[in-house]
Each structure stands twice: as C-alpha cells, then as structure tokens.
Amino acid sequence: MIPTVPQPAFTKWCYRAYVTVFFVYLALPLTVVCVFAFNNSVFPSPPWNGFTFAWFFGTEAPFIGVFNERSILRAIGTSTFVALWVSGLAVAVGTCNAFLFVRHDFRGKALLYMLMLLPLIIPGVILGISILVFSSAIANTLEDATGLWFDGLRPGLILVILGQFSFITTFATLVISARLQKFDPSLEEAALNLGATRLGAIRQITLPFLMPAILASAIVSILMSFENFNTTLMLVGSDSPLTITMFDKLKQGSTPVLNAVSLLLIVVSALLGLLSLFFPKTKS
C-alpha cells in the first residue's frame, strides 16, 4: 500500500512485475517502429535483414530515404506551416483569455468559462465536420451573392488551421491561466507605484512572469497540431499535413520509410515535450 505499511514480499513482487509489464506494453510499439526503420528490407516486418540507413538517406528505388522523398518533405513543410500558425494564434488568444478570466469579473463569466471548455468534450471529427459544413454554407451564400470564388472557405490549409486552433486554444488558455493565477498582483501594483504605466507594468512584470507558461503552451500547441488527425482529416484539401500523408501511405501498404519518419517524429516530439515540462521549472 505505502512503504511504511508492511506487505507480504509476494504481493510486492507481483505489483512490481505488473508495473514492469505495463511499461513494456507502453514502450513496445514505439520500439518496434524505431527498430524497423533500420531494417534492410522493403517491408517493416521481420525477418531482420541487416542494418541500413537507406530509409533515411537512400536515393535508389525502392530504397528512397525520408530526406529524398518529396511527398513526405512537402508534408512536413505543410505541417510545420500549420503548426506555427495554430500555435501563434492559440497562444495569443489563450493569453488574452487568461487575463480575461483571472483579472476580470463580469456577468456570464461562469457560462463563458464553460463554453471555453466545450472544445475539450467535442469529438475532433465533429469539430471538423461542423466547421466544414458552416464554412461551405458561407462560401455557397457568398458565391451565389457575388459570383466570386471563396477558396479560403473550402477545405484547405486555412480551414485546417482554424479547426486545430478551435480546440488547441482551450489548452493554451488553461496552461496560461494556471500560471497567471499564481502571479502576485502586488508586484504589478509595485511597478505602478514606481511610476510604470499600466501596459508597461504588464509588459515588464507580468508577461515575463507568464513567459514559461506561454512557451510551454506554444510547444504543446505545436505538438498537438503536428499530431492532430481527426479534425484535420475532415478539413484537408490538396496540401496534406504529415499525419494525413502518412495515413494515405499506410493504407496503400507501408514501407520502412514510414518507420524512418516516425522515428524522427518520436525523437522530435519527445524532445519538444520534455522541453515544455522543462520551461516552467527553470523559470519559477
């Protein structure tokens, strides 16, 4: 139960065994994905045909490595573009929301807070189709009325960005609000007392204090955007982000080049994730 309460050795042993098995279960899929990225075979499955870097740097078919595979490089570019936009927007709006919810009292605040949490409990697919349906309706109306084309409102990167932004903002708001709540307002008052302007005090005192949370939520937003699938699937146009491209390739039959991309994704996301945990700790 707890270390200070004596337990039979057998019980303790069983418990430890279970925990070990659990972590093996957690690690297993990621491990095999990484291992088969180096298999000298056109299928990411046993037997092991020897070690190769071809799935990263290969140039000759069928061994075309990630770094020479156009479609994947383009998808990574698209995903990065989307992720940066989503992260920027989500953090900006999230910071505003944090100030609104922590610093202001107004009628309907509880209701607005509830609404702000809603995107968390709406399934991603539904979020996607609702934005798809709504934007198409607007596009149809506008096109009927003006006779012009409104491509931005048709499936494509703009909708993907908006769709991801619509729920990632909730996470950014929660992370930044939590930090702002810990801020001692007397620090800002002290700055005002020492002659700072209101905006100056926020810029010089409050925002630096929030910075770890802002950076952490920016990183988490990028991660969430990069790996989002459900919402993106419904809104995607001709430029596919990485997850969609990989999904299409996976349906056609996988080659170890997917393992190689996955390995890169695992390394980058683990690093970014650790960084997002690291930020709040170093600064506070």
Binding site: I2, C96, S130, L162
Partner: protein
C-alpha cells in the same frame, strides 16, 4: 478616465474569445444541426424535416454501429481504469523523487508522439507477418502465421494504449494529494488493504477517476485512426460512417445527423458522469 481605459481593455480581451467561440464553435454546430434537419428533395433544393434521423433509426447498420461504438468505448474506458489505476497508485504512492519523475515521463512520452505512429507500431506487432506472429512461430507455439490484426481485441488494445495516459495523469495528481497519514490512520484503526482502498483511497481519487473516464470515453468514441487501422475495413466504428457520408458518399445531410447523434451521446455521457459523481465540468476539465 481610469475606468474607461479598463473598460476598453476588458472589451479588447473579450473580443478574441467571443470571435473564437461564436465563429468556430457555436455557429458551426448550429449550422451542423440545420444541415442535419434538411432533406434533399432535388438538386440544391431542401426542406426541413427529421428524415435523416429517421434514416438512422430505420437502418439497423447505423444504429447497431452506433451502439457498438458506445459499448466498445465504455469497455475501453473500464479497461483503461482497471489497468491504469495500479500504475497511477504506484507512481503516486510507492515512488519518490527521481524514480517518480522518470516513470511519469515514461507515461507521457507515448502521448506526445502522433497517434498514427503509435497505431503503426501496433500494426507492425500484430499483423500476420508481424513481430508477435513471428515470435510465436519461432518459439514453436504456432505452426503458421497468425493474424492478430483486424479484430475487436486489436481495436481494444489500441484504444487502451492511446488513452491510458489520460487516465494515469489525473489519477496520479489526485492520489498524490492523498496524505499518507490517512492511509496510516486507516491501518492504525484496524483496516485492511481492501477496506482502505474502498473506503479511503477510492473516494479520495473519485474526481480523478471521473475526469479520467470522461476523457478516455470521449477519445475512444471520437477515435477514427485506431478502429480503421487496427480493426480493418469492417471495424464498424461510428466516426468511420460519418467520414463515409461526408467524404465518400457526399451525403452531408445524413452525415451531419450522424455527427449530431455522436455529439449528443458523448455530451450525455459526460453530463451523466458529472452528475453521478457530483462534479462540475470546470473542476474536472480545468485539472488536465
């Protein structure tokens, strides 16, 4: 003067959130509902009615898939709770300092990695030519290749894997806040492991259990990748049907109706979970 500037500041802060919630959340869902209650009677001609919903209830494939998705999601949630609770307890109560942080991070890492990669990993493990099949053959346990993919068990393994973190994290947080002296007091007063678990630990962990279950249920219900890739073509997952209506059949009206039903189901379960455990959405979700 002062109150004027702060009023202006207030509206400046209010603008983005209203824009976000109204334009991207509220209006699209109203729009979705409007489309779901319009019936196509000719090219670009519609009339209002519940025909799409009637189609859903009239066609066994739809509502059976709906029920199947709900039941499998509940099952996945229960399994995740049963498997995750001992892990959360171990991390929160039986480890300290460095070990605790390491184990916690090891739980987090799979979550940071794209769901697609995780599912891909399971495919490599489970398929006919996969790692487990090969391992079983070389151990002599089976004579030929075994297909472990494309069945409900595979879907379940994938769902639990994908969502276990969302169970473990809130549980670790609530169990961490349980003072060890309460458990000691329970023992001191003659309690056994079972009775202390039942009367002290689980009631204390209830908020974490509820928020974990709600999140896991919703993730399972709304999952698309795992059932499609691990369950194969006949996985019969409701999100798959919605996708088909929207993208393949281009029947947005029926698709919207199906989407709305899924939203209603998930909202109902969330609401029920909160009511049963006497928690509020803000308390439960604000924690994650």
């Amino acid at each position: 003067m002062r109150s004027d500037t702060s009023k202006l500041g207030f509206y400046l802060l209010l603008a983005p959130i209203l824009l976000w919630l109204v334009v991207l959340i509220i209006l699209p869902h109203i729009g979705l509902f409007m489309v779901s209650i319009s019936e196509k009677i000719g090219p670009r001609e519609f009339e209002t009615g519940f025909g799409n919903y009637a189609t859903f209830f009239g066609e066994p494939l739809y509502w059976r898939t709906f029920a199947r998705t709900a039941i499998m999601s509940i099952l996945a949630t229960a399994l995740t709770l049963i498997l995750g609770f001992p892990i959360a307890y171990y991390i929160a109560k039986l480890t300290r300092g460095r070990t605790k942080t390491t184990l916690f991070l090891m739980c987090m890492i799979p979550f940071w990695v794209s769901e697609l990669v995780r599912t891909f990993g399971w495919m490599i493990l489970l398929r006919e030519t996969g790692v487990i099949s090969n391992a079983l053959q070389s151990l002599g346990l089976v004579s030929g290749p075994v297909e472990l993919l494309y069945n409900d068990a595979a879907i379940m393994v994938g769902l639990v894997y994908t969502s276990i973190l969302f169970m473990v994290v809130p549980l670790v947080t609530t169990l961490d806040s349980l003072d060890d002296s309460l458990i000691e007091a329970g023992y001191d007063l003659g309690g056994t492991s079972t009775s202390i678990m039942r009367e002290i630990v689980i009631p204390h962990a209830m908020p974490g259990i509820v928020s974990g279950c709600i999140v896991v249920f919703m993730l399972s219900l709304g999952n698309y990748l795992t059932p499609i890739l691990l369950g194969g073509k006949d996985s019969l997952w409701f999100t798959g049907m919605i996708y088909t209506q929207f993208i393949t059949r281009f029947n947005w009206e029926l698709g919207s109706a199906l989407g709305f039903l899924l939203l209603a189901l998930s909202s109902a379960i969330v609401f029920l979970g909160l009511k049963l455990s006497k928690q509020s959405l803000s308390d439960t979700m604000g924690r994650t």
